[in-house]
Symmetry: C2
Subunit: 208 residues, 2 copies
């Protein structure tokens, strides 16, 4: 059985939704950031980076959301969570490119609001970082709205592992100071995602 280590209000929700959607046999284990459990010796044995998510499998431990999402899609091909049958590998690479943009640019821009100490020690610099988040995160979502997000799903007609990942990060938009009113396609995507049973179930479990 798979074991997903997650914390509330983190990008782990994306993998949680994907596992739920895939019908995987898994257990969700909460890591309590309030007590800094992600830095405990026990958890560092699972993930030496001290972050969530982590996925314990029969073959070893996986980390990093894009890799975990691809693993779920490839392990449960009947769930149809990624284009795996393309002999040219291009469609799968497009999925990976979108998720790579989310992890390396969108999530990173967002992290400058709450996790500034990763990159500066100075209090004034941390405040300066927070100040720019509405602009830097907003620019990412403008680009996604204009150039990346097909409809109804990220890749067009087929729901893929891009959808729970985008949905998870976009949940933080208002707190990042980005007005969703200017992003009608993205708002529509969020609404449609929030109606899915797998999404509701994963969110309910994390908030319970």
């Amino acid at each position: 059985m798979l074991k997903l280590y997650y914390a509330r209000n983190t990008c782990a929700l994306a993998s949680h939704i994907a596992l739920e959607q895939a019908g995987a046999d898994y257990e969700a284990v909460r890591v309590d950031f309030a007590t800094n459990a992600q830095r405990s010796p026990e958890y560092l044995k699972i993930n030496p980076k001290g972050r969530v998510p982590s996925l314990v499998t029969d073959r070893g431990i996986l980390t990093e959301t894009p890799a975990m999402l691809a693993f779920v899609a490839q392990s449960y091909p009947e769930a149809g969570l990624a284009p795996l049958d393309d002999a040219f590998a291009f469609a799968f690479a497009q999925v990976q490119a979108f998720n790579s943009y989310l992890c390396s640019t969108v999530h990173v821009a967002h992290a400058h609001r709450m996790r500034g100490t990763r990159w500066v020690d100075d209090e004034a610099a941390i405040a300066a970082m927070k100040k720019k988040v509405p602009q830097s995160v907003g620019a990412c979502y403008d680009l996604i709205e204009r150039k990346m997000l097909k409809q109804p799903w990220v890749m067009g007609g087929d729901y893929t592992i891009c959808d729970p990942y985008l949905f998870t990060l976009a949940q933080w938009m208002e707190a990042d100071g980005v007005d969703p009113a200017r992003l009608p396609k993205l708002s529509d995507h969020r609404r449609r995602m929030s109606e899915r049973a797998a999404v509701r179930k994963a969110i309910a479990r994390e908030l319970a």
Copy 2:
């Protein structure tokens, strides 16, 4: 034929090396950052993010290094650049996890030295960011050295798409203020990479 858009001294070198190693039929096209060519209307049509690398294929355009590397590995399976024959998808996910860490954590920590204006406007904050780069980048390489890098290659006995990517980012280590003397496994990896014909050829082309 594939067309790789790159700029000197960027992470595009990783894809350049992988294409060369795969024996791909490709053309390498330089984007001149000195004239801000990555923001030109022509280039923004290729990559609306205004960044390198981009890979133009017969089926469309790909961006984001981890996705491009996976695409090269899957398109040229005879080059053996990734474990593609694992029915459990675990080995490929491990490759993706490593490359995801490079793009979302290592490269991002490094980018706070030269690209601070992505996340702050304030001059003092930019200086504060630069100051922490030796520590934040150094912590990444310490973790890679202690917990991730098998030998002789990142994944152990088999050279994969993790190797050119790690090599490319590690080339910036000294400028980031990280002393390679404390990283013997990583230093050995860099030396072994720099002796490979594909690496030499890609670097020579980029510096020509």
